[in-house]
């Protein structure tokens, strides 16, 4: 199931979106998410659909990849649609099945919310698929840095995110090792009652946490030994460069947003 989740995964490439500054992409996605929730007309969603197709061509991400990634979201979308269809009772009754009646507004709300969810997952997935995690954290650090004057620890937050991303594969490797070690001692993670499986999971989680804490302590020593002292006076190897394509993208998205807001009912 988890290999099908595309949010958070990065797919290296050389597309227009890959070459964009991550700050522009984050700003664009945040703006689009706000607009997605403000749009309430079919024209608006039709335009959004067109934009989604255009962005897909600019991303260079294979379609099968997106289809595979969107599939798990469909379950949530269908559930959301039926919740609205069953419980919103405004407007005329469109049709009835047994004791259930489906109202015009319920169907409309269900479709709108489903489209919003799909578009939200689609755009955020394209953001992470075309932006490396380190670029994302660098961009977030820079975008949050004005808040440092209000004591917001932008640098520390970015460092924490960067370390968390760095340790995901390492912790997965560690989990695999512990599973093998516990399986060799008779633990079974796939068979037995729910209680047996929970017990087996405890034998996985306890050593994983112990090792993670030990690792965290060692890492803290290693960082301190290399002079880590927070963000003050620090220079950076990676530079984010804002180019023409970033300005163009932000302008186009702003115009797009204004048009969509005009189409609101």
């Amino acid at each position: 199931m988890f290999e099908n989740v595309i949010i958070g995964q990065y797919l290296p490439g050389r597309s227009y979106l890959h070459h964009m500054d991550p700050r522009a992409k984050i700003a664009a996605v945040v703006f689009l998410i706000i607009v997605i929730f403000l749009v309430n007309s079919w024209h608006g969603y039709a335009l959004f659909g067109g934009a989604a197709i255009a962005v897909y061509f600019l991303s260079g991400v294979p379609f099968r990849y997106i289809r595979k990634g969107m599939f798990p979201v469909f379950i949530l979308v269908i559930l959301t649609f039926f919740l609205h269809a069953f419980f919103t009772r405004d407007g005329e009754v469109l049709f009835s099945i047994g004791m259930f009646s489906f109202y015009e507004e319920g169907i409309r709300q269900g479709l709108f919310i489903s489209l919003r969810l799909l578009l939200l997952v689609y755009f955020t997935s394209l953001l992470t698929l075309t932006t490396s995690p380190i670029d994302l954290t660098d961009a977030l650090e820079q975008m949050f840095s004005p808040l440092e004057r209000f004591k917001f620890p932008a640098y520390d937050v970015a460092m924490m995110m960067s370390i968390a991303i760095r340790f995901i594969p390492t912790l997965l490797q560690e989990t695999e090792k512990i599973i093998k070690a516990q399986t060799a001692r008779g633990a079974d993670f796939n068979k037995g009652s729910m209680r047996d499986r929970m017990q087996a999971f405890v034998s996985l989680l306890v050593p994983l946490f112990v090792r993670a804490f030990r690792r965290a302590e060692d890492l803290a020593y290693a960082m301190e030994a290399r002079g880590y002292n927070g963000g003050e006076g620090r220079t950076k190897l990676r530079l984010l460069v804002w180019g023409w394509r970033d300005t163009l993208c932000c302008c186009l998205i702003a115009v797009f947003g204004v048009i969509l807001l005009f189409l609101r009912q």
Partner: protein
């Protein structure tokens, strides 16, 4: 000339009743390769963390290039001058790629970006990791990880490098790579090396050895004097490297070299 001076050094962990280090007064000389050897719990790893102010002594002092590690203002300079390579190569990687990790210490020190790029190129060539600069740490072998960690420290241009059991989690090839790197660092670059180890054969490659026992430096010998100390080492239960075991046997049985040759050829 002393680069690190330990004076009446004592250390005690808060949760413990007993001192881990007891009244150490010693000097580490500029440009030498010093090995510190001892059993688990003898205090050698604790001592290594005192060299660059990662821990502070309970009593006494540690001076690096004349600066006290207890002086907060000097600490940043001390940590640049005394680099540390830790035991587990996996636990010391901060950044998602080798290149970013080498840059981490320099970023902390405020080194300009152009200088960083030059130094990354230089040190990666020196430890032969140019081909893995783009890689994530979990894709590297143990030896590559340790060499990448060494590159990250070398980029800071330290005068001293402390290796805290840095070969203990490596396979024989990885160990050989790191020992060769240590030797080159000391002999070619003039960097003072302090190597904490469990292995006598590693310690015998250095210039001087401190034997630690129960928080004290039991013996301080130069490796030229190894033959004189072999009996003491055996009495202390230290497993001698094979060639020294052979040397001891030959000496004990008073076998002359011609007889030994006849014996070996007869086999």
């Amino acid at each position: 000339m002393a680069i690190i001076e330990l004076r009446e050094l004592e250390y005690q962990y808060e949760e413990s009743d007993e001192k881990v280090l007891k009244g150490l007064t010693k000097d580490v000389h500029r440009g030498e390769w010093l090995s510190i050897i001892g059993a688990n719990g003898s205090g050698k790893s604790t001592l290594s963390r005192l060299f660059n102010g990662l821990s502070q002594p309970t009593e006494g002092s540690v001076h690096v290039l004349g600066k006290n590690t207890a002086d907060d203002k000097a600490l940043q300079m001390i940590r640049q001058e005394v680099g540390m390579v830790f035991q587990n190569p996996e636990h010391q990687f901060v950044a998602p790629t080798v290149r970013d990790d080498i840059a981490f210490g320099m970023e902390n020190a405020g080194v300009p970006r152009e200088v960083m790029l030059e130094r990354i190129k230089e040190v990666s060539q020196w430890v032969n990791i140019e081909h893995i600069l783009h890689m994530e740490p979990h894709r590297l072998s143990g030896g590559q990880k340790q060499r990448a960690a060494i590159a990250g420290i070398l980029a800071l241009r330290p005068q001293v490098m402390v290796f805290d059991e840095s070969t203990s989690m490596l396979d024989p090839n990885g160990r050989k790579e790191i020992l060769e790197t240590m030797s080159r660092l000391c002999r070619e670059s003039g960097i003072t090396i302090i190597s904490i180890t469990h292995y006598l054969e590693e310690a015998f490659k250095s210039d001087r050895i401190w034997f630690m026992k129960a928080g004290r430096i039991e013996k301080d010998i130069t490796t030229k004097n190894i033959p004189d100390q072999l009996e003491w080492m055996e009495a202390e239960g230290m497993p001698l490297p094979y060639k020294y075991q052979l040397y001891q046997e030959v000496k004990k049985r008073r076998i002359d070299m011609r007889t030994l040759r006849t014996m070996v050829e007869g086999e």
